[in-house]
């Protein structure tokens, strides 16, 4: 099977590469675009470590054939910081201690970003549902929820 040429937008920049059409989008992001913030945890869509935002929706990139990403806009964790530094959501994770080893954190933050974009004032239950597809083996989730709660209150004041 000849390789496909894939043309995609990652974090606002156009990106082209060649690969087998059924390669995982995660591998394209990590190996071709050198954006290693997106992690591989389980490789079967269960842990959320590979989560990215594709055309506005949260998806597990390990289950997406690279060919399908042709023409799509992708946001990875690296896309959250702007020229001025980390995003407010990322800063909340720092301030509230929402990360330990950090492996789940990129996916967790993108899930939180999606939640906050769709919910005006999420309560703790909403937050828990919003991150229910992201597994963390270190923190016990409490400080992750605290971080997201803090970020949701910040957004109200902006």
């Amino acid at each position: 099977m000849p390789e496909s040429e894939i043309k995609t937008h990652i974090n606002g920049k156009e990106f082209r590469f060649h690969c087998h059409p059924l390669s995982r989008l995660t591998d394209a992001i990590r190996d071709e675009a050198n954006l290693t913030g997106t992690k591989i945890g389980c490789g079967e869509g269960e842990c959320g470590a590979c989560a990215v935002i594709m055309d506005g929706t949260l998806v597990n990139s390990c289950l997406i054939p690279a060919r399908e990403a042709n023409g799509k806009k992708i946001v990875t964790i690296e896309g959250l910081e702007n020229g001025l530094g980390l995003s407010p959501l990322q800063n909340c994770f720092l301030e509230k201690g929402g990360a330990q080893c950090g492996i789940c954190t990129p996916g967790m933050i993108l899930a939180a970003k999606t939640l906050l974009e769709n919910h005006q004032s999420p309560n703790r239950e909403d937050i828990i549902e919003g991150i229910s597809g992201n597994l963390c083996r270190c923190t016990g989730y409490v400080k992750i929820i605290d971080s997201i709660e803090a970020a949701s209150k910040l957004e109200k004041n902006q």
Partner: protein, 288 residues
């Protein structure tokens, strides 16, 4: 162990006709890929038997929800994320919203399609018991013609369905509820976690009443047989008897004669029988 990708091919169909043409040529040597949440997992595990895939992701005409005549029509490529947020589904088919919210997790719902869930035909599929209780109809199309079948006739045995090699599932229809009939609905997915779990038992029950008189009952159960089941015998029993503790127990007994749960990696026959009875009793106690 991961698959050797060069053994696999992928063609992207630009529209429905092309998808059918490609499938016609390949017959059983190719299969369709929609959201990929089942097939990519198999590929990753080195277990995807069919080596030639036809991608459906460009077929926008199958990605929508609309009211057609007296039905809600859902395109087979509509995702669970779209279904759970749609106003008509939320208003008229609350069990489908509940089931959609329990498919995997949000990132899976944004990709997984209703058609894929049906055709993958896991006995534990989340949408199946809801579609059965809502009397869903399926549209199966090939290059020459299309046919509609009731969903409760679709699954014949474990992963054996009434769909031919040259056919594709295009649409799912749910009859709109009668405004003059009130319904009590109940859906429960029993699994290991709040999200990202596969059901050990799933149940969808609906009672239809007019002027407080029982008109119709629909009871469906999943993960306790080679395919999802409508509990016809139990429904008939409910329609012809009065509510009582004895009759609720009898309903459970009748159900236990028709289900055939097994011991597997997720659960045991004994647990599944007990939980099935608990779910049915709970539903009848509170709604009958």
């Amino acid at each position: 162990m991961r698959s050797y990708l060069n053994d696999y091919s992928l063609i992207v169909a630009n529209n429905l006709e092309e998808a059918l043409e490609l499938k016609n040529k390949a017959a059983a040597n190719a299969r369709f890929i929609a959201g990929g949440t089942d097939l990519m997992v198999l590929l990753e595990a080195g277990k995807l038997q069919t080596k030639n895939l036809i991608a459906l992701w460009n077929i926008d005409e199958l990605k929508k929800i609309s009211k057609v005549e007296n039905y809600l029509e859902i395109g087979a490529l509509t995702t669970f994320g779209m279904i759970r947020n749609h106003a008509l589904v939320k208003t008229h088919f609350p069990l489908l919203v509940q089931a959609s919210k329990l498919v995997g997790a949000l990132a899976i719902q944004n990709r997984a399609t209703l058609g894929g869930n049906i055709v993958n035909a896991s006995p534990a599929a989340d949408s199946s018991v809801v579609l059965l209780s809502y009397d869903a109809m399926l549209c199966l199309k090939n290059s020459k013609t299309e046919r509609w079948i009731p969903y409760d006739q679709f699954h014949r045995d474990y992963k054996k369905m009434d769909i031919h090699d040259d056919e594709i599932l295009t649409k799912i229809r749910l009859p709109m509820p009668d405004k003059n009939v009130s319904t009590s609905t109940f859906y429960r997915k029993v699994g290991t976690r709040a999200a990202q779990s596969i059901s050990k038992v799933s149940f969808a029950g609906i009672l239809f009443k007019k002027d407080n008189i029982l008109q119709k009952v629909r009871l469906s159960i999943g993960a306790v047989a080679p395919m999802p089941l409508r509990l016809y015998e139990v429904e008939q029993f409910i329609m012809s008897n009065q509510k009582s503790i004895e009759n609720i127990n009898m309903a459970c007994e009748i159900m236990n004669r028709v289900i055939s749960p097994i011991d597997d990696i997720r659960s045991t026959e004994k647990f599944r029988r007990k939980v099935s009875s608990n779910l049915l009793s709970y539903f009848l106690e509170n709604n009958w």
